[in-house]
């Protein structure tokens, strides 16, 4: 099967610093790929390159066979890449339902004039969008559903993360990028996210996930890509990566540095 996302030789420099150098890997439809590496390895930078927030200095990123380098973030989202952020970014003074609806809104066709006069077409579109978003919020059980009309800044930390995932899912992305979805969560909450990821995989969702908790990474991933100092140092199924010398070296500090 043709890969959904092809990353080829992506390099991103900040001045003389190589945040990413010549990173290449593919993601196939239905796969869950984890991106791991020590802090500062370039994981989030790679996410920013994929979503257009920060264009790569060189290299190509192809999504569904077309080059997406140089496209604006909203265009890339519309093509089918959704993401969450390492530091949760919500629309704080909007209700939870509206936060999610923004994610689904680009599907809408209502223009300014038809919205001004609230034509029947607009009403139908709004109702459909609302129903769709309620369904997505339902993925999180009763965590978010009872709080539809609360402002997002009233939510607990874990719920804020959940809401961000819901917003990304509302756009029905072909590829979902999750940046540390379980950061700051307790074991029970982390388990909830793992279950959610499994549920999404069963629905055929392709996911690229940055994660630090090895237990999560080993449970959810079909494949793991390891970055260190902006370079890809390993790629493979979880079992292989767990035994890989270079990976252990990058994480634990290599033996060669010891006296």
């Amino acid at each position: 099967m043709a890969p959904l996302l092809e990353i080829t030789g992506v390099t991103r420099t900040f001045g003389g610093l190589f945040a990413l150098s010549e990173v290449s890997f593919d993601i196939h439809p239905g796969e869950i790929v984890s991106l791991i590496g020590p802090n500062g390895a370039g994981k989030t930078t790679l996410f920013n390159c994929i979503t257009g927030t920060l264009p790569p200095s060189s290299g190509s990123i192809r999504f569904k066979g077309t080059d997406i380098v140089g496209k604006k973030p909203h265009e890339i989202t519309r093509k089918g890449i959704g993401r969450t952020f390492q530091h949760v970014r919500l629309f704080n003074r909007m209700t939870i339902l509206k936060n999610v609806m923004v994610g689904a809104d680009y599907n809408g066709s209502a223009g300014i004039l038809s919205a001004m006069f609230r034509l029947p077409r607009v009403r139908r579109e709004e109702a459909a969008n609302r129903a769709h978003c309620l369904e997505i919020l339902g993925l999180f059980g009763e965590r978010l559903l009872p709080r539809l009309d609360q402002h997002a800044d009233m939510l607990s930390y874990a719920n804020r993360r959940r809401l961000e995932i819901a917003r990304a899912l509302a756009a029905s992305p072909s590829l979902l990028l999750l940046d540390e979805p379980t950061a700051g969560m307790n074991p029970a909450e982390t388990q909830g996210i793992v279950e959610l990821i499994h549920q999404l995989r069963d629905q055929g969702q392709t996911i690229l996930i940055i994660e630090h908790k090895m237990k999560v990474v080993m449970t959810v991933s079909d494949r793991i890509v390891v970055l260190d100092h902006g370079e890809k140092i390993a790629e493979g199924p979880p079992r292989e990566i767990a035994r890989d010398e270079t990976v252990i070296e990058a994480y634990m500090g290599g033996r060669k540095y010891r006296a």
Binding site: F91, R93, D105, A110, I112, V122, G141
Partner: protein, 336 residues
């Protein structure tokens, strides 16, 4: 209760206010009092239109009087020289202001933050200077005199009460259209941009396009207000559209609150009424004007009706989402 019934009941406060405002000219017959109320209406329109930019999308525009002026001059030109009927001229002046809004938004939105704000100020000054110096077209500092009163479907509006009803209609129409608009994907996109532009862009919102649209829309409403003003006062000169006027609008938003539809109207009403109510204090009344603003900044920085969700709905009749707690969810530690 049936949904339609409940919707109606939820709107009772708004309908009651509308009823009172409609009946007001029967009680208030003093032309001066009506004139003051008409100005409350004009400034409500202007503050509401500026609210789209400053309150909803979070762009700080401080040159809004430019669009007000463009609307006023356009309407005068349309009716006096091109002999276009009033309603078409009013719409036309809104569209003219909107077109200028597009012309200014397209390049300035490339600037961010304070630079864009300064560009709007510069735009206001440029428009003022053009109105002041282009003698052939605008008659310069002398202004345009004897602008005809509005004639709608053969009916001439020439009483204060007539103008009152016209501006009441315009304000209500503006409120309704803005309400519908802001409750749609357009409104959600604007608020999302205000809250977090990067996140909005990542959620698929074409931020640049929405900003331009909001600018054009705000200019359109201000142009309509300008058109009404021109035909109401029947004399316009550049000084009515100087940057001072823009600052008054900003003060109205600061006082009344922004990001909802009640704040701007409240701010406009208070700041129009203060100088009139305290007229007996003569020049000193401006101290009260300033004092109220300072007091507001001290005790309630977000304005009378701050950014939160203020509306005239009677919440009692709002549809409630049914909440089912199955696993004692609210007692889980993560939710606090």
């Amino acid at each position: 209760m049936h949904r339609v019934q409940r919707e109606f009941l939820a709107h009772i406060p708004a309908l009651a206010i509308l009823l009172v405002l409609t009946a007001l000219p029967l009680v208030v017959t003093n032309t001066y009092h009506l004139q003051v109320l008409i100005f409350v209406g004009i400034y409500s329109l202007l503050a509401l239109s500026l609210n789209l930019l400053n309150g909803y999308i979070g762009l700080l525009s401080i040159g809004h009087a430019a669009f007000y002026g463009i609307g006023a001059y356009a309407s005068a030109k349309f009716t006096m020289e091109m002999k276009i009927p009033f309603l078409a001229a009013m719409l036309g002046s809104g569209l003219t202001a909107g077109a200028f809004g597009y012309l200014i938004a397209k390049p300035t939105l490339r600037l961010s933050g304070i630079y864009m704000t300064l560009a709007t100020l510069g735009f206001n000054l440029i428009i003022w200077l053009i109105l002041l110096n282009w003698m052939d077209f605008t008659n310069g500092p002398l202004g345009i005199m004897s602008i005809p009163p509005p004639r709608i479907f053969g009916y001439m509006i020439d009483t204060r009460a007539g103008y009152y009803y016209l501006i009441l209609f315009l304000v209500v129409a503006t409120l309704l259209s803005m309400h519908c608009l802001l409750d749609s994907r357009f409104g959600r996109a604007l608020t999302a941009i205000r809250e977090d532009e990067t996140a909005a862009e990542t959620a698929g919102v074409n931020t640049t396009r929405y900003k331009i649209q909001a600018f054009v829309l705000a200019a359109f409403y201000a142009g309509i207000a300008g058109s009404f003003y021109a035909h109401f006062i029947s004399y316009i000169s550049p000084d009515s559209f100087y940057i001072f006027e823009s600052f008054i609008l900003l003060a109205m938003l600061a006082l009344g609150g922004q990001g909802n539809l009640l704040g701007p109207v409240a701010g406009a009403a208070i700041l129009v009424l203060i100088p009139e109510v305290f007229r007996f204090l003569q020049e000193y009344r401006m101290f009260i004007y300033g004092g109220v603003l300072i007091l507001m900044m001290l005790v309630r920085r977000e304005g009378l009706f701050g950014r939160d969700r203020y509306s005239l709905r009677w919440r009692r009749f709002d549809e409630k989402e049914t909440v089912v707690y199955e696993r004692g969810d609210k007692f889980l530690p993560s939710d606090h």
